[in-house]
């Protein structure tokens, strides 16, 4: 049974304020149903279906999702049609803004530690040899304050929690680029391997990133190499960790000790000990095509979106990491092609 594939709910209606916004929440973007879902992180229950759908009867493909540090707002990108960044109030999931990005395929969105700036990578795979953009958006008024054409098909632009520099994963260029947070000016560029692929034909395909809390380590998911590679901010090689097949998104615990990778091809989650730089466990998620991953505020539970397939709907799976063997806490059907996932703290 397909669950809620296109069941467009009424959440998001300005008049329909829901007052349970104080509890921690999990937000999932569902690409094919043009919705975001709000889930209970404890149980996996779907609490709200929020349409992100400026064009009814057309596919707008919600892709990335991020929450503000205080948890009072959440943001989502649309990758199809007219790529946009939308802003929602946490309470009632009321939309309060949407900006057109004049981009080809807005992918992930990340916020800086102040929550004042959002960074969006324009993941345009249709021009493999040409550089794509990274955009900075001021969250207060949703103005695009800077944009820079960086490298082929940037998929993830992630600000360093310590210094504010923005690391960019150049998926079709086998490169990492570091940008200044304000003007998005290039400050560092390095290859993910001494023998990278041709531009447009990557050997490693760096898709997603994670910073250590102190900003001294940058973890890079090498999608085609089935590993996470670790660099210092100057591009110095620190180490490699083998993962499952085709690692996609990464997430790191607040203390930096645990890194998780969602492995798209084999349906697993790699749990990595960052001190040992070793895969501590690989969890079979019993779902197809893991894509996004987020951790809760303690880093004790991982939430993984699994796209599903054309024959089966996607799922979101929670994995309790714990000190022992990780265990699946719940698995919820979340519609066709859930992609982004973000955990939001309780709002005081």
């Amino acid at each position: 049974m397909l669950g809620g594939c296109s069941d467009r709910g009424s959440a998001g209606d300005p008049a329909a304020v829901v007052t349970d916004g104080a509890a921690p929440a999990l937000f999932v973007t569902v690409a094919v149903s043009d919705q975001a879902l709000r889930l209970d992180p404890e149980t996996g229950a779907v609490l709200a279906r929020i349409p992100i759908d400026p064009r009814p009867s057309e596919s707008d493909e919600p892709h990335g999702v991020a929450t503000s540090p205080a948890g009072d707002y959440w943001y989502a990108t649309l990758a199809h049609g007219q790529p946009t960044l939308s802003k929602f109030e946490r309470e009632g999931d009321r939309q309060v803004g949407r900006v057109s990005l004049d981009a080809a395929g807005a992918a992930r969105v990340e916020l800086d530690r102040s929550g004042e700036t959002a960074f969006v990578a324009d993941y345009d795979r249709s021009r493999p040899g040409e550089p794509g953009e990274v955009l900075a958006v001021r969250t207060r008024d949703l103005r695009v304050t800077a944009r820079n054409r960086i490298c082929p098909a940037p998929h993830h632009a992630l600000p360093d929690p310590a210094s504010g520099r923005v690391a960019v994963a150049c998926s079709l260029g086998d490169e990492i680029v570091l940008l200044s947070a304000g003007e998005l000016e290039e400050v560092e560029r390095f290859s993910v391997d001494p023998a990278p692929g041709e531009v447009g034909a990557p050997r490693f395909k760096p898709l997603n990133l994670a910073w250590s809390p102190d900003g001294k380590r940058l973890y890079v998911a090498l999608h085609l190499a089935d590993r996470v590679r670790v660099f210092d901010p100057s591009g110095g090689f620190i180490g490699d960790v083998a993962t499952g097949s085709r690692p996609a998104q990464l997430a790191i615990s607040p203390d930096g000790s645990v890194l998780v990778a969602a492995n798209r091809a084999d349906g697993t989650l790699s749990v990595i000990d960052t001190r040992e730089l070793a895969e501590r466990a690989r969890v079979d998620l019993a779902a197809e095509h893991p894509h996004g991953v987020a951790l809760d505020g303690e880093g004790s539970t991982a939430f993984v979106t699994c796209e599903g397939s054309t024959a089966r709907p996607g799922r979101t799976v929670a994995v309790r990491l714990g000190p022992g063997r990780p265990e699946i806490a719940w698995s919820t059907e979340t519609g066709p092609v859930p992609l982004g996932v973000a955990w939001a703290p309780a709002v005081p």
């Binding site: 008049a15 149903s33 049609g81 309060v96 949407r98 395929g105 008024d141 949703l142 397939s309």
Partner: protein, 592 residues
């Protein structure tokens, strides 16, 4: 004729503004059931603005409430004569058209501009602008302007001539005015003001082209510098085909949503869309093949592909080749699949064609001779139109591309060497892809002309060469409106007519060109047939041109119900086939 540059005509524009009463009250109401959500409040400033002969001006919008709001869509209404008849080819635009967000107390300046046709009649007009959030109007602005004669020689007499015999509703006739000075000499290039009495009874242009909406005696007045004349035109009901759209068969599809379709010979092909959350439901990974030989569609076969949206299917003119589109594929390559239709009821896959250019997804396709025209999703030069050489269908080659510079391409229709691109915000774009008017070819398309209608998002187009018209749809904005443009000179498309329907937006069309009958799908409102013969001017729904409509499964809403949601009609072999998102494929019989 120049509207404002000439010595004797002036354009006076007054802008009247105000917040909408329905949403401008207390923004934190409470009641017996306890506190409610704060209500957003928007207002336009100033309350009025006189622009003189300028066509442009600036107003300000303010968030006067206590909560942030956005996006704010600034949606212009039709330019109308004061009692409500819309004027084709006239429009009001607002820049920005969308404000991303407005925090409490924030303001944003908005530039307004009028676009007016050269043959706009002298007189008074109004228009409107709404600030909408989530489809709800939170503030409205009234705009009034006049086109007036300000100089020129005095007239001693005016004599209007026109048809002596009764005309039909919707017939376009040319009226002429003989203007003479007080000495009885003809006035060269007189400035004549035309109007219909009552104004709701018809439409007259600045050059005296008149179309009647009402039956009976309709008066048309011509005025010129102190003199006037009135002609009374006798209008009779329009003669149109009589009958109904009778439901013959239903090919129910209730486990997937149905998308576009195509009929050829005795076979129908229908696509599937998105994923349907019902027991046993599936995603849009199938092309369904229906045998029509016995009249009632019988499912003969299906083609399963890697996609979650098979939005479109087209068949070549010789019936040998089919092409279906892929979006949201598991392997993320999307593209198109080419089908061998040697056995029409059992297509064989020739090849699935993918390329980096097509990775965002292919939404629509058109086959014309040796080429396929693909609509690639996206809002950058890397998306838009891609032209595929399919002379060897097992090895297609992309030979050209085109992007309109802004917004995104949604659909393409090719005929007589002209490609009509439905390019959403950017409007209708016409390309020469072999016509010769601009030296274009399928391998080197050349832009011929554009029609940008402010606030109108061009979703689909049907070009009817013999008539010189192209029919346009906007599937989003309400009230729904089909717009008709004269493209007899494709370098200068001119909007001339429309069909408006309250509460429903149009989707795809089919024109039976032999009989001059247009079939229009209106989503939840089913399909309608209109007489589109003759010259087209003004509001066709006011002209007795409506032939028949079909609410074959009324009720409900698109995507969220199991009732009617008409996607596309196709008139084929005496039947009207209608794909319906919620219910499947319908076979209707036009009895007219």
């Amino acid at each position: 004729m120049s509207l404002i540059a000439g010595p004797s005509r002036a354009l006076f524009v007054v802008v009247l503004a105000g917040s909408l009463a329905a949403c401008s009250g207390e923004d934190t109401p409470s009641g017996p059931t306890g506190p409610k959500a704060p209500v957003p409040v928007l207002s336009f400033e100033p309350a009025s603005l006189r622009l003189g002969e300028q066509r442009t001006g600036t107003i300000r919008i303010r968030n006067a409430g206590t909560v942030a709001v956005g996006p704010v869509e600034l949606v212009p209404g039709a330019v109308r004569i004061p009692d409500g008849e819309s004027v084709p080819g006239a429009g009001l635009s607002a820049v920005p058209a969308t404000i991303a967000t407005l925090n409490p107390g924030d303001t944003r300046d908005v530039a307004l501009a009028l676009t007016l046709p050269d043959d706009l009649a002298l007189g008074d007009y109004d228009a409107g602008l709404e600030a909408r959030v989530g489809g709800e109007a939170l503030a409205s602005l009234g705009v009034a302007f006049s086109v007036a004669v300000t100089g020129g020689p005095a007239a001693g007499s005016v004599a209007v001539s026109g048809p002596a015999d009764p005309i039909g509703q919707g017939d376009v006739v040319a009226l002429s005015a003989d203007v003479r000075d007080p000495d009885g000499n003809p006035v060269a290039d007189p400035q004549v003001s035309w109007r219909v009495v009552p104004s709701s009874a018809g439409l007259v242009t600045g050059t005296g082209r008149f179309v009647a909406y009402d039956t009976g005696a309709v008066q048309v007045v011509a005025e010129a510098q102190g003199a006037a004349d009135t002609i009374t035109v006798s209008v009779v009901s329009r003669t149109i085909p009589v009958g109904q759209l009778r439901t013959l068969h239903t090919a129910a599809v209730d486990t997937r949503y149905t998308s576009d379709h195509w009929e050829y010979g005795t076979t129908a092909y229908s696509g599937t869309w998105s994923c349907r959350g019902v027991p046993g439901g599936g995603c849009g990974n199938a092309l369904l093949v229906w045998d029509l030989a016995a009249g009632e569609p019988v499912l003969a076969d299906s083609v399963i592909v890697d996609a979650r949206v098979v939005n479109d299917i087209k068949v070549s003119a010789d019936g040998r080749l089919g092409i279906l589109t892929h979006e949201h594929s598991d392997d993320m390559k999307n593209g198109v699949t080419l089908l061998d239709l040697t056995d029409p009821n059992h297509p064989e896959v020739i090849v699935r064609f993918t390329a980096p250019d097509l990775t965002p997804g292919v939404h629509n396709v058109w086959i014309e001779g040796d080429y396929a025209f693909l609509v690639v999703d996206g809002t950058a030069a890397s998306s838009g139109l891609r032209i595929l050489d399919i002379r060897d269908p097992s090895a297609p080659v992309i030979v050209a591309g085109f992007y309109g510079g802004s917004s995104f391409l949604h659909d393409v229709y090719v005929r007589d060497g002209l490609a009509f691109l439905s390019h959403w915000d950017a409007g209708l774009i016409i390309l020469d892809v072999g016509n010769g008017i601009k030296g274009g070819s399928p391998t080197a398309p050349r832009e011929v002309g554009r029609l940008d209608i402010p606030g109108y998002w061009v979703h689909n187009a049907w070009y009817w060469p013999e008539s010189g018209y192209v029919f346009l749809g906007d599937e989003i904005n309400l009230p729904g409106r089909v717009r008709i443009a004269d493209v007899s000179d494709p370098t200068e498309p001119v909007e001339v007519a429309s069909i408006t329907k309250n509460g429903a937006a149009p989707h795809n069309f089919w024109i039976d060109e032999q009989r001059g009958i247009g079939y229009f799908a209106w989503y939840e409102a089913g399909v309608q047939a209109f007489d589109v013969t003759g010259d087209l001017l003004g509001s066709l729904e006011r002209q007795g041109r409506f032939i028949a409509g079909s609410g074959y499964a009324p009720g409900g809403a698109c995507v969220t119900s199991s009732q009617q949601c008409a996607w596309a009609p196709q008139y084929h072999a005496g039947r009207l086939y209608v794909s319906d998102m919620n219910t499947g494929l319908w076979v209707l019989e036009p009895t007219f």
